[in-house]
Amino acid sequence: MKYLVTDDSKLARLSIVKSLKAHVGDAEIFQAENGEVAVALVKEHKPDVVFLDLTMPVLDGYGALPLIKECNQKIKVIVVSADIQEQAKTKVMALGAEMHIQKPINADKMQEILELI
């Protein structure tokens, strides 16, 4: 399995990568600092799972999500956001997200996510 972690915050990326590594060991994990870089990395590395923040510069999660799904409908996109409003969840689910998770993700929450996908 290949994973892509997308967030403009280095801390947020490190946090997700750390939780991921605790469960998936040596799997390939790529990182992107905005939606535009994420789309490019999806095309280049073809990850199976994308963790995607919503509020980012250059291209936000709402803009990146349809472009990522356009590359490969089978990619599972987990939106990880501080925006926990119901409308935000409805919007990303309609755009093809697998789930919408509130930040931050700890190791226990990561285990739940990985079991569900």
């Binding site: 915050s9 509020t55 501080a82 926990i84 935000a88 930040k103 931050p104």
Partner: protein
């Protein structure tokens, strides 16, 4: 006067903590107003109070409702919420408020819910707790902002600035968290502890 700065990594950590705290606070306020708000990326700066006052002059509109709420603890300071006249009137319309008194009461409650949930969550992320005083409100022209007592006791402040934007209702607000020198040192320490734990 001390001159404290934040490194890029410290800013990144604070921005992310603020993002989480703001998301939580916005969801509560959005639920309270039955409206959907967009989130902005928090802008973080350490500046002299005089510089902050100059920046406030760049806000649109001639006069603002300006409400503040002080918080105390290891992390202490004041959160301030600005809402311009037009947004305040749109808020009154949205909530079907009829008098200025009701509008001021609504803005105070909005400030209380927004800033206390924001600061509480931010403090929680930094493993501490804060205590709040009651919020207060004033309506002032921006050119008189430097007369406001809230800014007088600060020399150097850390300013965490985010926009609250209810697009459909045309309600915009701006939130500032102001902290003093001692809290900035404490904050830097906490941010580095968080960062080290991630490495």
């Amino acid at each position: 006067m001390s001159n404290i700065t934040l490194t890029e990594d410290e800013k990144d950590v604070l921005q992310e903590l603020m993002n989480v705290a703001y998301g939580n606070a916005t969801a509560i306020v959005a639920d309270m107003l039955d409206a959907f708000a967009s989130l902005s990326i928090p802008n973080i700066k350490i500046m002299q109070t005089a510089e902050l006052l100059n920046e406030l002059h760049d806000l649109k509109g001639d006069s603002y409702f300006f409400s503040t709420q002080a918080f105390a603890g290891e992390f202490s300071g004041e959160s301030a919420f600005f809402i311009d006249n037009e947004s305040a009137q749109n808020l009154a319309l949205h909530l079907e408020l009829e008098t200025d008194e009701d509008l001021q009461d609504a803005i105070l409650e909005l400030t209380n819910v927004l800033t206390s949930s924001l600061t509480t969550r931010l403090a929680k992320e930094m493993n501490t707790e804060v205590k709040f005083s009651l919020p207060s409100i004033s309506k002032i022209p921006l050119n008189e902002m430097d007369q406001n007592d809230s800014f007088k006791e600060y020399s150097q402040v850390i300013v965490i600035d985010t926009q609250l934007n209810f697009e459909d209702q045309k309600i915009n607000g701006e939130i500032f968290i102001l902290t003093k020198d001692g809290s900035i040192e404490w904050l830097k320490n906490q941010l580095n502890n968080i960062l080290e734990a991630m490495m």
